[in-house]
Amino acid sequence: MIQKKVCMVGAFATGKTSLVARFVSSIYSETYQTTVGVKIDKKLVQMGEQGLMLILWDLHGEDDFQKLRLSYLRGSSGYFLVVDGTRRATLDKAYILQSKVEAEIGVVPFVLLLNKTDLQDDWELEDSAIAEAVNKGWTVIKSSAKTGLGVEEAFLTLSRKMLEI
């Protein structure tokens, strides 16, 4: 069975842990619980005839309190850049983190997740900002860990991209 390491990267409170919990255990909690260090989970996905074991590294969100340890990214086959669509600044942070990740591990597949689409009233990402990411050739998926929208699609898309290499 093929095994791939996937990292969840993004600013704090963007929903990285919730996305993993939704994907791995189909659960969601309304309470924000910050991640300290790294949380490891595993999930077996079936890609056609091929079984793929995803080793999910849910990295703590970066902010003034905790900086991302780039060594955690070593050996990653892919990663998710997670943005909270209700906080515009988290998209700016994602751009910064993407550059750091690429400088550390080189070019590997990734998906930009615009999370919390269930909070449409508070949505702050303008269409032009999203178009900017798309124009860079990035794969962008809107998601909601709460409703499950886009979550399965995102993980399967990244899995597919990782297997294509």
Binding site: K39, I40, I55, R87, D127
Partner: protein
């Protein structure tokens, strides 16, 4: 006796002590703590050799750093940082690994770090909760500022129009009594303007209600009608200042001018742009509004014959509280309001200098097709 105590001590402290044998395996030193046994149930004696990487993917990564540390250093400790990992039953454990060198032996300690983890967790959680609360508060304040500005425009715009009408009326040949009435009217309107300032300061909960008003897509506003309303409202002000305001004569009066948006806010956008043009266009000149049909959008332009915007200021024009140096507006929120409102409706707004001199402010809004029951938010128009 001493050795036995030491063997038990680490287990009592929830730490497992391992010695690196070769690149692939470790062996256990001392007693195995219970929690570790849940991950490695097959290890029962201190002589067992086993690999950690499969069970703890996190350690596969850390051991690369640890190996460098063991090769190069014989002092100090290398810490992995906290990580959480579920045991085979799905229960999460918070762990931390430490690499040390003791008499050329490569030692790895893995600690069940529950209390240290909880302390750090509590600290970070509090800090981040506070940061989120602060961000949320800032956002609420911004919303209120914008709403305040909208109310300001709604009230003051009409007061200004009445004041200008009275001023024009004063130029007519009136009886003495008629002039007295106009004088009273102007005093009252001035008092009204002062009252507005006070009311604005007292507003609070009502603002929220207005801000959260839901836009009904079936009530799509007609941009032509909105423009005509704004022109009618501003004509007296322009006349009083010996300036002209007109809609382009070639605008077709028939056809679909409905756009995605909401009437009162759309008129407020036009009010902002026309009021800016009124302030900046010189006496005797004309401000012209034009509407163009595009494939999916309607473009509205407001042209004045003023000095235009200094090039260094253009990129800040639509930011909050920005005012062109020496040409202060009211609060520096008008164009900001226009930008966020137009963008929210899936449109675009911008500025460009006119070749013949003067300023052009424009905005594009998506057409509301007559068969349409829901607003479409497909591709955005040209970015700012």
């Amino acid at each position: 006796m001493m050795c036995e105590i030491m063997n038990e001590l680490f287990a009592a402290l929830n730490q497992v002590v391992l010695e690196r044998i070769d690149n692939r395996s470790f062996h256990l030193i001392g007693t195995m703590p219970d929690w570790f046994g849940q991950f490695f149930s097959e290890i029962s004696t201190a002589q067992s050799r086993f690999s950690l990487e499969k069970t703890f993917p996190f350690l596969e990564n850390f051991l690369i750093d640890a190996e460098h540390f063991w090769q190069e250093s014989d002092r100090g400790v290398l810490k992995s940082g906290f990580w959480s990992e579920p045991n085979p039953q799905g229960q999460d454990y918070q762990l931390e690994a430490l690499a040390v060198c003791l008499s050329d032996k490569k030692i790895l300690l893995i600690e069940l770090a529950e209390s240290a983890y909880q302390e750090k967790y509590a600290l970070l959680q509090t800090g981040r909760d506070n940061q989120l609360s602060y961000d949320s508060l800032v956002k609420e304040i911004q919303k209120k500022e914008i709403l305040l500005h909208c109310i300001f425009h709604d009230l003051v715009g009409q007061i200004t129009a009445v004041s200008n009408c009275l001023e024009l009326l004063g130029l007519e040949s009136l009886s003495v009594r008629g002039r007295d009435y106009i004088s009273v009217g102007r005093r009252q309107i001035n008092q009204q303007a002062e009252l507005v300032q006070e009311i604005l300061q007292a507003f609070s909960a009502e603002m929220e209600l207005l801000q959260n008003a839901i836009t009904d897509p079936t009530q799509a506003p007609d941009l032509l009608i909105c423009t005509q309303n704004v022109v009618d409202m501003f004509l007296p002000s322009f006349l009083a200042r010996k300036k002209h305001l007109q809609m382009h004569p070639e605008i077709e009066r028939i056809g679909n001018w409905k756009v995605i948006g909401e009437r009162s806010r759309l008129e407020r956008i036009l009010l902002n742009l026309v009021e800016n043009a009124l302030r900046h266009t010189p006496e005797g000149s004309t401000v012209q509004i034009n509407l163009h049909q595009e494939e999916e959008f309607i473009l509205c332009t407001v042209d004045d014959q003023g000095l235009g915007v200094p090039p260094e200021s253009v990129k800040y024009l639509f930011q909050r509280f920005f005012q062109v140096k020496g040409r202060a507006g009211k609060a520096g929120l008008g164009l900001y309001f226009c930008r966020i409102t137009v963008k929210r409706w899936g449109g675009a707004i911008g500025y460009e200098p006119l070749a013949e001199g003067g300023a052009r402010f424009w905005f594009r809004l998506r057409k509301f097709e007559l068969h349409q029951s829901e607003p479409t938010m497909k591709n955005p128009p040209y970015p700012l």
